[in-house]
């Protein structure tokens, strides 16, 4: 009995310790913003591996998600004779929910796992300790540029996702299924508000970018310095990011669109 209680206590304390390390780590990397401003080359190199390499995945996924929304929306809406509102359905679901959430999940899988594996491997091969020996702070030199690159890339990726998705939905709805082109856009513009829908979607993607990159960089930096440790940290990044994104999405949606 005491053994179970002891293990439970250890697990809870361990979780809190990790949370504390994570917040402390976050404070240190945000403190490394000066280093990033001083050496923009570090940021650009990371923007390439985090943002540009994820762009293709995001664009293609967005296209297909938008096209599926167009098809599914059309089947349901045509039951009510409301095919004209297809644009509203596609754009609202993309801008409010799917754009930020799906691109954050893809981002965690594509870029987050790579960040964790890279930093974890640097730790396992003692490159980070080597840097410290040379009086180079690995937090500022390695972690900070990666964190900011992810933080800046994520909203851009989500915007690309939503844009391509809307165009994909337009292609299926107007091109294939014969929804009126003018009604598609005008109904969309009449129903979607810049502040309530677009800005809230951007805020969501900024929050998701922040959380996913934080988890990814921290897990890499905090991993057990063995090959098994790196693999576990990479898995944890994807799993924890997915949980964090979906749970935060609910809270943010409740705050933004709920009537409190």
């Amino acid at each position: 009995m005491t053994g179970i209680l002891q293990r439970l206590g250890e697990a809870v304390l361990g979780a809190f310790e990790k949370l504390g390390r994570g917040v402390y780590f976050l404070a240190l990397i945000v403190g490394g913003v000066l280093e990033v401003v001083k050496r923009p080359g570090l940021l650009i190199a990371q923007m390439y591996s985090v943002g540009v390499l994820t762009l293709m995945l995001i664009a293609i996924s967005g296209l297909f998600v938008g096209m599926v929304l167009g098809l599914q929306g059309y089947t349901i809406l045509s039951d009510f004779g409301a095919e004209q509102t297809l644009g509203v359905m596609v754009a609202a679901s993309l801008v409010r929910e799917l754009g930020p959430v799906v691109s954050a999940l893809l981002f965690a899988g594509r870029a987050g796992s790579a960040l964790t594996a890279e930093i974890g491997l640097m730790k396992a091969t003692e490159q980070l300790s080597g840097m410290e020996m040379m009086a180079v702070d690995p937090l500022k030199r390695i972690a900070a540029p990666r964190f900011f690159a992810g933080f800046f890339s994520m909203p851009l990726l989500a915007a690309v996702f939503s844009t391509v998705g809307v165009l994909g939905g337009h292609g299926v709805g107007v091109g294939m299924l014969g929804v009126d082109d003018g009604a598609f856009w005008s109904q969309m513009q009449a129903s979607l508000d810049f502040q309530d829908d677009i800005l809230n979607g951007v805020i969501k993607s900024v929050v998701f970018g922040f959380v996913v990159t934080w988890i990814a960089v921290f897990e890499g930096y905090d991993c057990v310095a063995t090959s098994e440790g790196v693999s576990r940290a990479t898995t944890r990044t994807v799993v924890h990011s997915a949980f964090a994104v979906l749970a935060l999405d609910f809270s943010l949606t409740a705050l933004m669109f709920g009537d409190f």
Binding site: G41, L42, I44, Y48, V52, L157, V166
Partner: protein
């Protein structure tokens, strides 16, 4: 430094694409392009019931949009809804006895304010109030009235046949 020129170009392309996407969403998908709240003069109208009218609902004359509803308030003294609308400055020749009514576009569409110009010589100025207004039609009330009138007719015809 750590990156080649190609990498920098690709990153620039990526950032450009992301920002272009945001602009696309703002201008093509949302209503930002129809933001014209900056210019125009204000008119107010009082209604017994505004139904589903919302801020930013259109204000039209003969079906042409000339402005938008800018604010909706409730006057607790007279128990009326006070609707403030902003009219584009080029449409400044509305007669002073114009009627403001709340209509629905289509059977289940959004509600808007339709103005019916009167014949007065004077025009409405900034801050003026419409003299005449026509409230929104509430479907339940109409159905209720219809049912009551039907019931009355039935009763009458029964009484007639009893005699």
């Amino acid at each position: 430094m750590h990156y080649s020129r190609t990498v920098a170009t690709l990153v620039g392309f990526f950032v450009f694409l992301g920002i272009a996407g945001l602009f696309f969403l703002a201008l093509q998908v949302s209503n930002l392009s129809s933001f014209d709240n900056t210019e125009g003069y204000r008119l107010t109208a009082r209604f017994e019931n505004i139904g589903g009218l919302k801020v930013r609902s259109p204000v039209t004359v003969s079906g042409v949009r000339i402005g938008r509803v800018s604010a909706i308030d409730f006057d607790s003294k007279y128990y009326q809804a006070v609707v403030e609308m902003k009219i584009k400055p080029q449409y400044d020749k509305l007669p002073a006895d114009t009627t403001a009514g709340i209509y629905t576009s289509g059977l289940l569409g959004e509600q808007y304010i339709g103005l019916e110009p009167g014949g007065a010589e004077e025009f409405l100025q900034d801050g003026d109030q419409f003299e005449f207004s026509q409230s929104a039609l509430v479907l339940e009330e109409i159905i209720g009235q219809f049912l009551f009138s039907k019931a009355d007719e039935l009763k009458k015809s029964e009484e007639d046949s009893a005699e």
